[in-house]
């Protein structure tokens, strides 16, 4: 089940987070994801936060549906014109609907034990050959950051194994390090795969 405290942190700090993730344009990973899709393709932003990436994908000519478990985030996304709805990761029940699914630093808030179900739901919701990109912070175990968000960490190879177990084919693995909303530096991995 979703972690209520994490949702509370995102509710309390939605505006901070929106300012923190504000960007002039799509970053390298989002550009790569967009390039893999045809113009007019339908994308799900799975854990969309304030809708920053959704809006950029719409500007790039994609159709976007977005889902987030924090009401304040859904409102922020909607204020950018994003077709966002309130729901948890378990509320993805579409079948062969999406050309692409973008899950950027969202699934790291799901408990480890739920990850296989969420990846199965992604595989089911993708059209055959559809693209997915999943980014998490790397490491081991689960812990809260200094502002109270609960994280499940994955090593790159373990995340790739889980993605493959769901029947998806891994195409690209990107690793880097960045500052988070909590101010700390964290290593991350972003995996691109297709159905």
């Amino acid at each position: 089940m979703p972690d209520e405290r994490t949702i509370q942190v995102y509710s309390d700090r939605a505006a901070d987070y929106a300012a923190f993730t504000k960007t002039d344009g799509a970053g390298r990973l989002l550009r790569g994801f967009i390039q893999r899709l045809q113009e007019g393709a339908l994308v799900l932003d799975y854990g969309c936060g304030p809708g920053t990436d959704s809006a950029l994908m719409m500007q790039a000519g994609l159709k976007v549906e977005a889902l987030d478990a924090t009401p304040a985030m859904v409102e922020l996304a909607q204020s950018k014109g994003v077709n966002a709805r309130l729901g948890t990761f378990f509320d993805l029940d579409a079948m062969a609907r999406y050309d692409g699914i973008w899950a950027s630093f969202s699934l790291l808030h799901a408990p480890r034990g739920d990850m296989p179900s969420h990846l199965d739901a992604i595989k089911r919701a993708l059209k055959p050959g559809g693209h997915v990109q999943i980014a998490v912070k790397t490491g081991t175990g689960e812990r809260r950051d200094s502002i109270g968000r609960l994280y499940t960490f994955y090593m790159p190879d373990d995340l790739c194994d889980l993605i493959r177990d769901a029947g998806l084919i891994v195409d690209e693995i990107h690793e880097g390090r960045d500052k988070g909303l909590d101010g700390g530096l964290a290593n991350w991995v972003s995996v691109a795969a297709h159905g």
Partner: protein
């Protein structure tokens, strides 16, 4: 059989200063990229040569299986060091021909260890000269540096 290529680059803002390194790994079948991996990292206080070395080290250390790989760097320091100078340094107990300690010795030793597991071909390309993969490695290196600037 796919062939492996690693494009590596380092970046530094000031020398020394905050720096980053980037690696673009590609598995190619003919001219088609069948799989891609990128890695970047950085440090608050370092030098350009150290970042170039760390890029090459991380490229080779990332490969779990012993592999045949071509590493393409725009650093003459790395290319000449690993293909030529290193043999003399090892014979001289990691001293230069002028009997001075080799600079960045711990990184050269790490690179030596990392390449021992693989069959590596080293290539040099001119940096910032329009090689698309080298440009991408440069972008990764600057990304690796960004959190430290």
């Amino acid at each position: 059989m796919a062939r492996l290529f690693a494009y590596t680059d380092g970046a530094c803002s000031g020398n020394p200063g905050p720096g980053g390194w980037g690696v673009l790994l590609q598995a190619k079948d003919g001219e088609t990229v069948v799989k891609e991996r990128s890695i970047s990292g950085g440090e608050p206080d370092t030098t350009n040569n150290r970042m170039e070395l760390l890029a090459a080290i991380n490229a080779l250390e990332k490969l779990v299986k012993a592999s045949r790989i071509t590493v393409i760097t725009d650093s003459a320091y790395v290319k000449n060091g690993v293909t030529s100078w290193i043999h003399g340094w090892k014979r001289n107990g990691w001293k230069t021909s002028a009997k001075k300690p080799v600079k960045n010795v711990e990184l050269w030793q790490r690179l030596d260890e990392a390449q021992r597991r693989h069959d590596v071909t080293w290539e040099w390309v001119k940096g910032h000269a329009g090689h698309p993969e080298n440009e991408r490695a440069d972008e990764l290196a600057r990304e690796g540096m960004a959190p430290y600037k």
